[in-house]
């Protein structure tokens, strides 16, 4: 271990507390029993689909588009997941086939 056990433990505690702090903020601002303003209620409703859209982009953020393989494995796999899901609407099928296809593409096709 590069630093002592005590320091390591403290680092973990600091990371844990900071992470929890980011997640708990809205619940401190609007605790149980306090009326939630209409604007915040609105935001709560429209934010989820927007965040999920952002998370898709977030997951693909490190895709190399200007160099080989130009994001082609990602493009094919994302297309497969969307296509399969529109067709069959089976979560596990879409995710399973998409993931195996992606692994196959980056390990065996676009090496």
């Amino acid at each position: 271990m590069p630093v002592s056990a005590g320091t390591s433990f403290l680092i973990i505690i600091v990371v844990a507390v900071t992470t929890f702090a980011t997640r708990v903020v809205p619940f401190f601002v609007f605790p149980k029993g306090k009326e939630i303003p209409e604007a915040v209620q609105y935001l709560g409703k429209v934010l989820t689909p927007a965040v999920i859209g952002m998370l898709v982009v977030y997951c693909l953020k490190n895709t190399p588009v200007m160099s080989r393989p130009y994001g082609i494995p990602e493009l094919i796999s994302v297309g497969a997941v969307v296509g399969l899901h529109v067709w069959k609407r089976n979560n596990l099928l879409s995710i399973g086939v998409g993931t195996v296809l992606y692994m196959f593409l980056i390990q065996a096709v676009f090496v």
Binding site: P2, V3, S8, L10, I11, I12, V14, V15, A16, T18, T19, F20, A21, T22, R23, V24, V25, P26, F27, F30, G33, I36, A39, V40, Y42, L43, G44, K45, V46, L47, T48, P49, A50, V51, I52, G53, M54, L55, V56, V57, Y58, C59, L60, K61, N62, S77, V81, H85, V86, N91, L92, S94, I95, G96, G98, T99, Y102, M103, L105, I106
Partner: protein, 234 residues
Amino acid sequence: MKGYRTAFREAFPYTIPVLTGYLFIGIAFGVMFAEKGYSVLWAILMSTLVYAGSGQYLAVNFFVPGFSFIQVMFLTLMVNIRHVFYGISLLEKFNKLGRKRWYMIFGLTDETYSLLCTTNIPDGVDEEKFLFAISLLDQSYWIIGSAIGGAAGALLPFNSEGIDFAMTALFIVIFVEHWFQKKNRTPAVIGVAVSFLALQIFGADKFVLPSMLIIIAVLFAGKKRMDAEVGECR
């Protein structure tokens, strides 16, 4: 304890995609941490107390002599700042719950948040127990993955490169499901478009916070239009 068995049984199928993803990104974390010289117990401790994917990947770099706690706090804050906004969608749902809500708030990772906000509670299951089951199952996958990685990650019998695409696929599936509901399509498009533009402008390491802020600004700017099509967070 009655009702919990049903809740966990009903919740389990919804969490299988997270199971796949967390096991493997958990393993990746365990391997990274083990390479720094930390035993499997440390990996389990961290995944139990912290529970954050990208946060823990980054945190592995903190364990070097001379790293200050201020830096630890600042970098953790930067990588997890998007979580500040997640609770806004769950205020009503969580504020109905009892003391369990503190654990559920602690467990608000990207994946768990997405499941909690988009899964319909099956008939005959207590909502509180069902949501709690999703949260607890998800974290258990994360801890198990970290433990495997910490103990034996380097010995994995197959090449797992690219398995983290399971997370991408999970979010795409949730996105498509949302699209089918015909509600809230505009915010979904705003989310993708704004973060894509922000990614081009700010780069992969710095685009999340600007994206969130611009998304919120655009959502408020279009409130009149979107009020008409607003659905529930569920």
